[in-house]
Subunit: 226 residues, 6 copies
């Protein structure tokens, strides 16, 4: 039996938007270096930087039927997260589905498979992070699930989790942890301002972070010639 | 023995140009979801969208001699299609060969191997779809065939077939089928105009395509909570 | 024991700058088709074209500590070359390290691993050639070597060698050979000017290079029909 | 903060052993075609067929420290499941760790990274399913978690879940679902006995499964010549 | 519309069997170094060496319905050749289908996708060359074609062509060319007997093939020290 | 200009043989975790374990001419190490070349490209570590170098270095360092005997290596329930 779960909890819009501003690398660090999707997930155009609440959708290989089902469950501010039940590069998603999602205020698509019509998607300004770009059409024969937890590109995503995506890739933040992660990311970013200034002025990380002694303890030696 | 076939039949220019306008995804769908080259074939710059008649050329690994031979067989409106006889990433093609092809009115290159000088090719506006980007030079020692059928990136290409290529990749249309495919693509595109309008207005694909009943038959159930 | 070598010989600045102007494909040809790094090394933005003296740095997988050490050894006009001791896609390098390198006049980074913060690096105009783009953070636990010879993406790099990098990839030129390679590249480029003009005028490579006879000797035959 | 969870619930030994007998393909089908790890997970020797309760372990790239920690949590009948926090091919596991696990009655290892000493492991008869085979040694610097849920080769594994592994790869069965899956697998296997006999006797699947009519409805036509 | 072609021409059984004896490398050389499938096509067990007449079958991704259709078209001495319409690693084929094919005297399977139940297939002695090994089950929803030409793993296969497969991979021989290829292979093999004897006796290929002069002409020089 | 260097220094036979006995993982550890070739280098049959002195050979893509040249430079106890000048999977090496090498007492081949005739090579007992298995034939048109240093599968190999290869892959030991590495490996192996006995008796690595305190310092905590 396949299920569509209609009501899912989402993080506060303000928190989601705050996470969007930090970007993937900072958010990933702020939550203890977890939550990244595999590095093969790339944006179809750059720059792109968004965050949104995950609506999850599992699909059969070569079959995009469930994406049509998932669209109805998407709200403004969401990001649709699609994973096939076995590895597939087909073009599950194109400009018509993007039109439908944009009409609902959806902020982007993350799909562990292929997208197509990427020239049009680029013009429309609808960002997609995908495993591949491939025009291969799909059928509508097999049902899957919407808004159940799934593994997308190696990361576990629960419906309602916050998806942060930018040129570096995609990161998922547990919904319950989103406020704490946002706070930690803000702190981290503030902390980096000073470092950036000092580094730009020519100060060395070796000195700023006080690394020289620990390096020597680990056996590093400086010599004048090889 | 290796052969160069001088006279090949080509599709009508008007049909070729019409196919260019539709793009890869539409053409591929219009001909029954066939003809795509492998998804690893990517354009060296974006956006790019062309169609042309295939001049085919087989090359030895690391040997671009036959491309020089193929240039002579290329006419205005053609696209050169190159496949190595065993997998190779070398840079078979650069700005000099592109200059030569542009002088003849050739519209692009599709190569199941590597290209180089891509910054110059981008400035020149000569589009290339390739498996790799690699500066590795090639030798001129081994002959191959020009204008015999070949398999390029997993697709069978006959000389004179129509190649359609854009940001989504590359598709081949049998020369004999080109008029019918163009007609089917036109119909498909017209059909999508209305759908796009309705989707943009917020109507759901589920309703436009009448999918709800069939989904329920397949066992899909909607629930309020997981 | 791990070593940091402080004093390395570098090629003359004028030679390095001259090599930058030729680009990767020409330089690689000029030195006898050697020195290319693997084709998976791609620039994070395009166009980008630089040359510089290599400061080399080996790092443990998932550990960027030694990059901080290497920064101190970088001079204006250098390019930092980083290779992990086992294959790794992590994001060793981001905008803070780039800020530090830019402050020292470093021209770019070549890393056989991942980079992150690429949107910011793109805005900063700090070019990076990497194997992957990945936000994954790294630790600072294990020491390596700075300015010892290493293999980066399949190519042997000695500290002080000249790194040439552009949209086609990355090439290394032995420091001792740099003047001769620059001279050969200049000659090669001059030689191509005339060829480009003739090709643009519609003359064929087959005729310019006098290939027809040799092709026939190898058994190539031209026929009118297949 | 990193955690080691000492007490985990396991499925009944009888159920685990029953699942071992069915093998991966049957178990995967019996639970609705879910739970497979990625196809790159291969046994280091063949044939091998086991099932056991998962003890999970996350490790830093190039760092096998936590495997030593996980050993202590392994009981007789368990299978150790290891996933790196970012992609890594290093040889985390060799004959010494295997000796330790065998001493505790552990049935095998599933690791989304590399193993080494595979000739010795083969002689010892300790089965390993891994992403790679690589002698690269690892450090002991960074802590991770034992017996928290993790994603291994694309599949979510909870501690105590049943791991089934054979020459076809690896499958995970939720602990709570294990009895039902075992029952469904038994039924499926019984059902296949009759089919196998009929197919071996020359009867066609087309007839056994009554497919001809449905195929014709979908538009399939039989013709005598192409 | 999808088609099943019932009557296909096959090569003479004696020729097919003769080709089996030569193996892939010799046959590929004998026909002018053409016809190889991609090197990712590997046997599920070794050693295995067969030849047979191709029955071709196209399948949708994740859908093995057409294999059941193709079984009926297979005769004793055939090899079933299956290619998905887009790249797929699913386990289209297992022990039940193998039982059915063995009952008909089919000699093996070549599939540009995945197989499963490989431990049982190995015991049965039914050889399979596949792209992957994966337990992932498939659906039966979409029709394709049987006995139309198709591209399998980069090679064009016509129904009735001779497939030769061994531990080195898979090669296709055009049906019309099979007798000539068999004759050329026999000649090649006879020719190698003498060479093997001379090489085993310590004579050098440099001398047997008279290469020294040509090597020197190409600029090769022997020196005593580097 | 291409060179064949005739006289190269080799390590003492006794040292080479001693290194063979330790295997790749131990030797790699004994020399400070360096010298491994990339993990894609796999033996064509298992088990296989050898060591020998490297004769190096660079080849053009798809061109095995220089292997014939290299054979003459091989002595009893050597291992031939071949690397293409650009990535290539072709079958450079088969049973005739193996016959020639065996006649000279050569112990194996390491090739960063493809091998063929692997069924015969297996019967002959001539071990090969290769990147691929592929029947694709090669030409004899382009010269390269024998016994110059080269990079093979990511590792720098000097002629005369000791190659150690087994089921785990391939490792290179600098000729000058071979005696010290052999001594360190012997020590390491002796040290492991005791550990293996204690681990087999059920003692934990945590206790043998005294890891508990350091783990706690790094923040690891043991809890009874998740």
């Amino acid at each position: 039996m396949s299920l569509v779960v209609r009501n899912i909890a989402r993080a506060q819009a303000a928190i989601v938007d705050q996470l969007a501003g930090f970007g993937v690398a900072t958010v990933h660090e702020a939550q203890g270096r977890k939550g990244l999707l595999a590095p093969y997930m790339r944006p179809i155009y750059r720059p792109a930087q968004v965050a949104g609440s995950a609506v999850t959708c599992s699909v059969a290989p070569g079959d995009n039927w469930m994406i049509h089902v998932a669209v109805e469950q998407c709200h403004a501010g969401d990001i649709l997260v699609v994973a096939p039940t076995s590895p597939c590069d087909d073009g599950y998603f194109g400009d018509l589905l993007a039109t439908s999602l944009m009409a609902r205020g959806v902020r982007g698509l993350v799909i562990d498979a292929g997208a197509r019509d990427i020239a049009v998607l680029t013009e429309m300004g609808f960002p997609v992070w995908s495993k591949s770009i491939y025009a291969q059409g799909t059928v509508k024969e097999t049902v899957g699930d919407v808004n159940l937890p799934l593994v997308c590109a190696g990361a576990l995503v629960h419906p309602g989790d916050v998806i942060v995506a930018d040129d570096d890739g995609v990161c998922v933040v547990r919904r319950e942890e989103a406020p704490a992660v946002a706070a930690a990311a803000a702190k981290r970013e503030a902390n980096e301002v000073d470092k950036r200034t000092r580094l730009a002025a020519g100060e060395l990380g070796l000195d700023i972070y006080g690394m020289r002694e620990k390096l020597a303890e680990k056996g590093l030696r400086w010599v004048d010639e090889a």
